[in-house]
């Protein structure tokens, strides 16, 4: 087995393990404090973990907004979530205004969803198909600098899921900021 094949196999195994123990619900709060339960049955769902202070994440604000706009119109449930325990609600509200996010953002209190999905960096995206199975885990694309993008990883994954096709690259990694988790004793 060559390196690439082995890596893909590992990725599929880890995603498979995650899917097999997929919980019924991902619980997120909106900025008013109201709890919401996802995924919505029958809908492809994308969870994007972001940060208000991570410079890499902030470089993706416009890309996140564009993705949200375009894929919401295609019927995808796009959830932009903040799991950082060091980013208070008022800071998230201000960032939402400053970044001109025209969609609700969610707070992953106690980073339960990040823990469940094994998210560790911002920005980081997950694609769940209509059965709640994780089909992609990784960055939005393969370059911070828009001019150097070679692969639109998140878009390609969602397009494949919507078309009922296998995701060519189900897992990828990129440099990012750590998700600042709540301390658990």
């Amino acid at each position: 087995m060559n390196t690439l094949t082995r890596r893909n196999a590992c990725a599929l195994l880890s995603l498979g393990a995650l899917a097999a123990s997929q919980p019924a619900a991902l619980n997120l709060s909106d900025l008013s404090g109201k709890r919401h339960t996802f995924p919505v049955a029958g809908k492809t769902t994308v969870v994007v973990f972001y940060s208000t202070i991570c410079p890499i994440s902030n470089e993706y604000n416009e890309r996140i907004a564009r993705f949200h706009r375009e894929y919401s119109l295609k019927g995808v449930q796009v959830l932009v979530a903040n799991a950082n325990q060091n980013e208070p609600k008022d800071q998230i509200e201000k960032h939402t205004r400053d970044a001109e996010f025209e969609f609700p953002v969610f707070i992953d209190s106690a980073n339960a969803v990040a823990d469940r999905l094994k998210a560790s960096v911002t920005p980081e995206a997950f694609v769940l198909d209509s059965k709640g199975v994780v089909r992609y885990h990784g960055p939005i694309d393969d370059a911070r600098n828009i001019a150097r993008i070679k692969a639109h990883l998140l878009r390609d994954a969602v397009d494949a899921v919507l078309a009922g096709k296998p995701v060519a690259r189900p897992e990828a990694k990129a440099f990012g900021c750590t998700i600042k988790r709540v301390r658990k004793t």
């Binding site: 890596r7 590992c10 990784g138 393969d142 990694k173 440099f175 990012g176 900021c177 750590t178």
Partner: protein, 149 residues
């Protein structure tokens, strides 16, 4: 530039690719090696760097080598050098030059998500001993290093 000359520090960062990483570490066999991945945009990275430099100063006689690898974009190399010089970070100092970021991260450590900062400790034979993500606990790190001399 003036500071670089005064401190005798080189002007550029050496590039390291996914295929060159193992060679970079192997080049220091016989020493305990701590590789620290950082970036100028990473606040915790900048925060922990002075303490890592102090540790390197304290333990270099015993055989510790601190290798820093900046994950900055090529256009931010000058900013990275400015920080390293200001913080008096010694050589060897690298800039990651990944043709494929995913492949680079996996080549360094398959369990690593790419979150910064990250530090990897190698023993004198070049064997990976510990992997730290996020700001490292200096007491834990130093204890792990001291076991390797």
């Amino acid at each position: 530039m003036f500071l670089t000359a005064v401190l005798g520090l080189p002007a550029g960062l050496a590039p390291v690719t996914e295929s060159g990483y193992a060679k970079m570490v192997a080049g220091h066999k016989g020493k305990v090696v701590l590789v620290n991945f950082w970036a100028t945009y990473c606040v915790p990275c900048r925060k922990e760097m002075p303490a890592l430099v102090q540790m390197q100063e304290r333990l270099k006689a015993k055989g510790l080598v601190l290798i820093t690898v900046s994950a900055d974009e090529p256009e931010d190399e000058a900013k990275a050098i400015e920080f390293l010089n200001k913080t008096r970070v010694p050589e060897p100092r690298y800039l990651r030059k990944a043709a494929n970021e995913d492949a680079f991260i996996n080549a360094v450590e398959p369990k690593w998500s790419g979150a910064l900062p990250a530090s990897i400790l190698y023993d004198k034979t070049g064997r990976k001993v510990r992997f730290f993500v996020g700001e490292v606990d200096l007491k834990v790190l130093e204890a792990a290093i001291l076991k390797l001399f």
